[in-house]
Symmetry: C2
Subunit: 646 residues, 2 copies
């Protein structure tokens, strides 16, 4: 489907969602999304009045902005939002993946009706944004800094591609191509064009998707233009502020907030709003892949190191602060107040996935897996009905999933991510296939001119043994790259029973099987999953004297329901050799960890704050569950970083 002039031959690209059938661990989650989440998302969009804003056949809502305050002083749910097109777009995208998995005529009819709203909304010149057509007509393209206009367009492009892949229906795809053409006419270097870009990145990666799907080079070029323009002087956001006579200080104070403080190649610190940052870097990585741009990749490598070595929670959560929904100082990673927005972990997985566009490298795939299985997946209840916006690593018992959110970005974002997990698992180049994530699944991939089918049989992530059967439509030479996660010691590989020396074929953390495949080969990869006790860099003050348990790709936590209240009284041994696995209670197939610990019992301090009295250490057993499964049973305390003997 892709036949673009600039395609760098070495690039790896994800398959489309329908190319991968996912079963097992992720399959259950996708089923929950398809069976419940997607219809819930639609219903809550209805309940929030979002279609009242979008549907041009309804009366324009009376606007209550800024937020209306209820008589009790609490903020009312707003009835319009300038970014709602994007949230509806993500619902369409998630629904598309759900429709591919399971036929659902009712859902499909509802999505068709939503798409029809957008089609009717679209202006003769191709422009299509519900806020600036219906709420603030005449104000389009005047405030790219704050108004999410191109961001909304980007999410609708992603939705259009997904809906086309899943249903074959072109309506939204055509609408979005017309809109993309319009945007391409408005923005650019030519006289009369605006040299701008969006305050909230997203359109960059979306244009790449649209370009890959339609084969339209202009979309790739426009993505690249937006990336290249960002942060240049004179600063576009200054120029447009003068043009609209806006003398107010930017409320986020500086352009670090939206990563436009410097041209992208000069940026070395991951900074500002976390989701924006991840979407920018994702778009940069896509452009680097499409244009074979090593200078962009080099800039991204510096940013990658900056994020993962100084600013990331062990769950793959990022952006500790609520105030800017983003980054603060290096090593500032408080656990209880962690913002760690679900969307930000999704964004990190997106960026990591796109860093793999330059070739398999577990530096990126390991973090992708860490973010997906922990900080992102925690955002969705196991039954698919409720959502975390922020994902703290400690709770005193009052933090629970929402049914909806004033800014409903996370629910459809985690839904679309889970439902499209197959696109993260595999990647394809002209002459190779990479398996980045293990999980029961069957992928039908186009490699060169042939079709390669890979079937994984595994209980991953509960067990590290993976059996992969290779089928081909005709014998073909290609490279099959299998990731050995950095958390794994002693990986073993056989092909058709023949032991392969893993070290001899390892490159960037992947085992590279380069051969002519006849079909019918069975590859067995055994990835031992020992329980690990992770320590944080001592510069992370919040984690000093504490350890986090992990097994395979999963970070674990303790919950009150398994361990009683007072989780900060638990003290792990210095050596965790006695840790063992055990079924996690009431959590399906989930593998838990049990370990003998000490538990502090405090003497009665008689209401005093400070005393020479010391706690007594009692023998106890702690029961850990995977972090992403917390708050699915009895509500209560939760803790990832548990105190440990030095």
């Amino acid at each position: 489907m892709t036949s673009l002039a600039n395609h760098a031959a070495s690039g790896f690209r994800p398959p489309a969602v329908p190319d991968v059938d996912v079963h097992g661990f992720w399959g259950e989650r996708i089923d929950a999304v398809a069976d419940k989440t997607v219809m819930i998302l639609y219903d809550r969009c209805v309940a929030a009045g979002m279609f009242d804003q979008i549907d041009p056949e309804r009366p324009v809502p009376e606007v209550r902005m800024p937020f209306h305050t209820r008589p009790d002083g609490s903020p009312d749910t707003t009835n319009v939002q300038m970014f709602w097109d994007s949230d509806v777009a993500k619902v369409i995208e998630a629904a598309a993946y759900a429709l591919y998995r399971k036929s659902n005529p009712d859902l499909e009819a509802k999505m068709d009706s939503v798409i029809a709203m957008f089609e009717k909304l679209q202006q003769a010149d191709g422009y299509m944004n519900s806020w600036f057509i219906r709420i603030q007509p005449g104000e389009r393209w005047k405030n790219l800094r704050d108004c999410h206009e191109l961001y909304c367009a980007g999410h609708l492009m992603e939705a259009a591609v997904a809906y086309f892949h899943a249903t074959g229906k072109r309506t939204l795809l055509d609408v979005m191509c017309r809109y993309a053409d319009h945007i391409d006419s408005v923005f650019g270097p030519r006289p009369g064009q605006k040299p701008g870009y969006c305050g909230h990145e997203e359109i960059e990666l979306a244009l790449i998707k649209l370009g890959r799907t339609t084969g339209e080079q202009r979309y790739l070029d426009l993505a690249r233009y937006f990336v290249e323009q960002r942060g240049k002087q004179p600063h576009y956001f200054d120029i447009e502020a003068v043009e609209r006579d806006d003398r107010k200080q930017f409320r986020h104070k500086n352009y670090e907030y939206n990563q436009s403080h410097l041209p992208v190649r000069e940026q070395t610190k991951v900074i500002g709003h976390a989701v924006r940052a991840m979407y920018l870097y994702s778009g940069m990585a896509d452009v680097a892949t499409e244009f074979g741009d090593d200078s962009l990749t080099d800039a991204l490598k510096i940013l990658w190191k900056d994020l993962t070595a100084k600013q990331m929670y062990v769950t793959g959560g990022i952006g500790p602060a609520a105030s800017n929904e983003g980054f603060t100082d290096y090593y500032d990673l408080p656990n209880e107040t962690a913002y760690a927005e679900t969307c930000a972990s999704v964004g990190l997985a997106m960026w990591a996935s796109r860093m793999l566009g330059r070739g398999p490298n577990r530096l990126y795939a390991d973090i992708m897996e860490q973010a997906l299985y922990n900080g992102a997946l925690s955002g969705l209840a196991t039954d698919g009905t409720t959502f975390f916006y922020d994902n703290p690593l400690e709770s005193r018992g009052a933090h629970h999933r929402w049914t909806w959110h004033r800014c409903p970005c996370c629910p459809p974002n985690i839904a679309r991510t889970v439902a499209s997990i197959g696109t993260y698992m595999y990647a394809v180049s002209a002459d190779g296939v990479a398996i980045h994530l293990y999980g029961k699944s069957t992928a039908r991939l186009t490699v060169g001119s042939g079709i390669v089918t890979l079937a994984q049989k595994t209980e991953y992530p509960w067990d590290g043994k993976v059996e992969i059967t290779v089928s081909v439509d005709a014998p073909a030479f290609f490279k099959l790259a299998l990731r050995v996660p950095s958390w794994c010691d002693g990986a073993k590989l056989t092909v058709d029973g023949e032991v392969i020396d893993a070290a001899s074929i390892e490159s960037e953390g992947y085992l590279q099987l380069s051969r002519r495949w006849r079909g019918g080969e069975t590859i067995v990869l055994d990835l031992p999953m020992a329980v690990r006790a992770l320590r944080a860099n001592p510069a992370v003050k919040a984690d000093l004297g504490r350890a986090a348990l992990a097994r395979g790709p999963l970070i674990y936590c303790v919950e009150e329901t398994d361990n009683a209240a007072g989780l900060n009284g638990l003290v792990l041994p210095a050596d965790i050799a006695d840790a063992g696995v055990a079924p996690a209670k009431d959590l399906g197939k989930a593998v838990g960890i049990e370990i003998p610990v000490k538990r502090e019992r405090w003497p009665d301090m008689d209401g005093s704050l400070y005393d020479t009295a010391k706690p007594v250490l009692e023998d106890a057993k702690a029961r850990f569950i995977p972090y992403h499964l917390w708050d699915n049973r009895e509500p209560g305390e939760m803790l990832v970083w548990v105190r440990t003997q030095p």
Copy 2:
């Protein structure tokens, strides 16, 4: 001097500053204040242009409010402040105490000139506030909530009393009596009077001081009126806002900020701005003493428990948050970001001192001592030249004392407190004397109709042995109450060599010697000072798994200069039996603590954030110094709560 109708016979009142000659530990500090700090305070008032605002013979300054911004974006020092009368008042008060200690004609002339400014500033009706006379004329008494008007008056009353006691000069005292008379005419229950009170408490305790000094009952009654009015409905701050047509929301959002959310007897949680809270409670305690009001005392006992059992740092610092300069949630006591304003610890000592007005009780005196020796005294460099505004319990090395502050409340506040420490050490009732604090000193006290002279010989707080010689002008019966601090185990008492069974004469933590004193008696009190390891209530998350060392009244800390960087790598043993005392390096007579510890050495984590690698524990020795002495040598890290083996 006091002969007021309402004097409750049982009340204990502090001596005047000239009644106590202080030597030893505090004497050195008073000398530094007298020799250096007071003139520095004056000079910095001059440099900040504060007298340009106050002196009616100078041109009215061109106002740069709200804060002027420098070209580089940093805030300029403002050139006027509505609360500057109060800061100058505290300078006068501190100077008065210094003048009593040491003659200083130059300083006295300067203070006389400042007092002359105020005298000229005073209006015909007695009103006197530089802001509302010179900067915003016509606006007086319109915004008690925000404008510090009565607060400024209060500090000037305290200054007037102090200057009168120290120099015998009545000018400022007379000015302030006229102003107090004016205030007494403006505020009250009669028709045409305002039923208001100040948003920043202070006038209440100041009117008590003025009443005690002048014998004027109306001042005590007015103090009581302000206390009683606070928080009543309809709310005065609402009424005055309507009267001045002010529809803006109170920027601190609710009246908890200034403790006017409820009538004072209904308040049970210590809340809002910390200094305001302490000054209110101090005033309430004074009123309770003067009027023998048990219902006020009962309310204060609840607040006392609330503060000291849930909201106080181990240093006696209070008010963890910068945002409201005050209180947050129970047990929220972060160490590195502790606001713990110097003024707030001073205020706590003031409140504690006034709780002792109802009789000796170490519940209050212990905390008074804790706040004075630690969270308050840390605010002043040993050389008397620089000042902490906030007093964190941990620093990465960038926290240092200021030469001055935009809001210069703390420097004169700690100066006047140190210089008047004698008033905290002793208290006198009709038939008794209490020694609340030990320290080398001689006090000449009027007890009943006689003069009692108490001379303490001691190295306290470096050593716990105290020798007290009693002299009387004529043999007299009175009770002498000697505090045994709650931190002390095994106190021993002799009178003229005769061993007294301490337990048999103990009441509320004081040893009560009731006898006919002939003069010449020598009392020896031995208070053993073992090194203690304090643990915080486990609800204080910031201190979990940590201990603070203490000896006598002093809380200790480690500094980088004695222990190298990386103080969070130090791990105390579970049992501190091997702790010993040793001279603190380059800190005069200060007693340090040395203790064998473990020190974590981290393996090279190769820039990674999380790893299974563990630190190695090496044997080391940690050197502790008294907290109040930190940041007087090489700048660097500091830590109070040190990690400990469970």
